[in-house]
């Protein structure tokens, strides 16, 4: 019985410590001290490619199926950036939506080709634009704290 009490006390203390900590941690420890504004990255993303950054923003989207990405709102209206993590390495919960997140990761890019719409003559030009290649910049997440 004494052992049971000891085990329960340890679990209780562990829970208290866990909840008392400043937000929930995901992945590796955050090492960077200086934050970079998301607007700064989006202004000239190519300049940040391959660089490690620490960003902060509200979580406005979470991967519903695997929790393998989150989208962070920028410091300016209409701006956001996606943080992608390796599937299964970090799993973001859907409850993170609307919460503040501090994320450390590396900026990278890839080229995507948008799907071509079945268009009429009227929106042929629009189709051309949609069919063009687009370079997407996002953050390869290493560690995060969601408050």
């Amino acid at each position: 019985m004494k052992i049971l009490y000891k085990v329960l006390t340890i679990i209780f203390l562990f829970t208290i410590i866990n909840f008392a900590s400043d937000g929930k941690k995901y992945g590796k420890e955050i090492t960077l001290k200086e934050k970079t504004k998301i607007s700064e990255i989006l202004k000239n993303p190519a300049a940040f490619e391959g660089k490690r950054v620490l960003v902060e923003g509200t979580v406005i989207g979470v991967c519903e199926k695997r929790g393998c990405w989150i989208r962070l709102a920028g410091d300016k209206d209409y701006e956001s950036i996606r943080v992608k993590v390796r599937d299964g390495e970090i799993v973001f919960p859907l409850e993170a939506k609307g919460k503040k997140a501090l994320v450390e990761g590396k900026i990278y890019s890839f080229v995507t080709k948008a799907k071509k719409k079945k268009g009429t003559k009227k929106d042929d030009k629009e189709c051309e634009i949609e069919g063009t290649q687009k370079r997407i910049y996002q953050i390869k997440g290493i560690g995060a704290i969601i408050k």
């Binding site: 509200t58 929790g67 209206d77 209409y78 799993v91 859907l94 409850e95 939506k97 609307g98």
Partner: protein, 184 residues
């Protein structure tokens, strides 16, 4: 002590310990097997709401989120909000998101509910905790191997591995081989 007796004791005691995890992993296995058809962790519902035509909402208004939740009589407190375009705004509550399109005058209210027990089972089964749990899961996997092997030699006679057992074991081996041949 006879070998068969040791095997029986091992099978029995490992079986007791592995019981809970086997159930957890099996249920989670079924759940994630069908992840193309449903979300094994959350139940997500979406309701479409209409902004009455009599109400005029200004996208530039600073207290826009507050005005919107008054229209829909949402009692939850706002966590945060985000303007994704000049005419769209997302308002976040605890486990709820209201996505409003001012131009179309519609709003989608998304409610997220965690699937109790199933989400926790998936969390363990998919090794989301990592750290020491990885070792626990490895030990469990080894236990399953031991259960499988000791299970073969539990009994002797016509129902043992030398009798009916060998045919059933062979059938068990053929099942994965058949599907490998079919799909691999």
């Amino acid at each position: 002590m006879k070998v068969r007796k040791v095997i029986r004791i091992l099978h029995r005691d490992i079986g007791y310990i592995a019981f809970a995890l086997t159930i957890i992993y099996s249920i989670s296995g079924i759940a994630v097997n069908h992840s193309d058809d449903w979300n094994p962790n959350y139940s997500i519902t979406k309701d479409t709401l209409i902004i009455p035509s009599s109400i005029n909402l200004q996208a530039s208004s600073k207290d826009l989120p507050k005005k919107i939740i008054e229209i829909f009589q949402i009692k939850d407190s706002i966590k945060s909000s985000f303007k994704s375009s000049p005419v769209t705004i997302d308002i976040y509550f605890n486990k709820k998101t209201l996505s409003v399109n001012l131009k179309k005058r519609i709003a989608i209210l998304e409610k997220v509910e965690s699937r109790t027990l199933l989400r926790e089972s998936n969390f363990l089964h998919l090794n989301n905790p990592k750290k020491i749990w990885t070792w626990v899961a490895d030990i469990f996997a080894v236990s399953l191997i031991l259960l499988a092997v000791t299970g073969l030699f539990m009994i002797k006679g016509k129902n043992g591995i030398k009798g009916r057992g060998k045919w059933l074991t062979l059938l068990g081996i053929l099942i994965p081989l058949f599907f490998l041949y079919l799909y691999f």
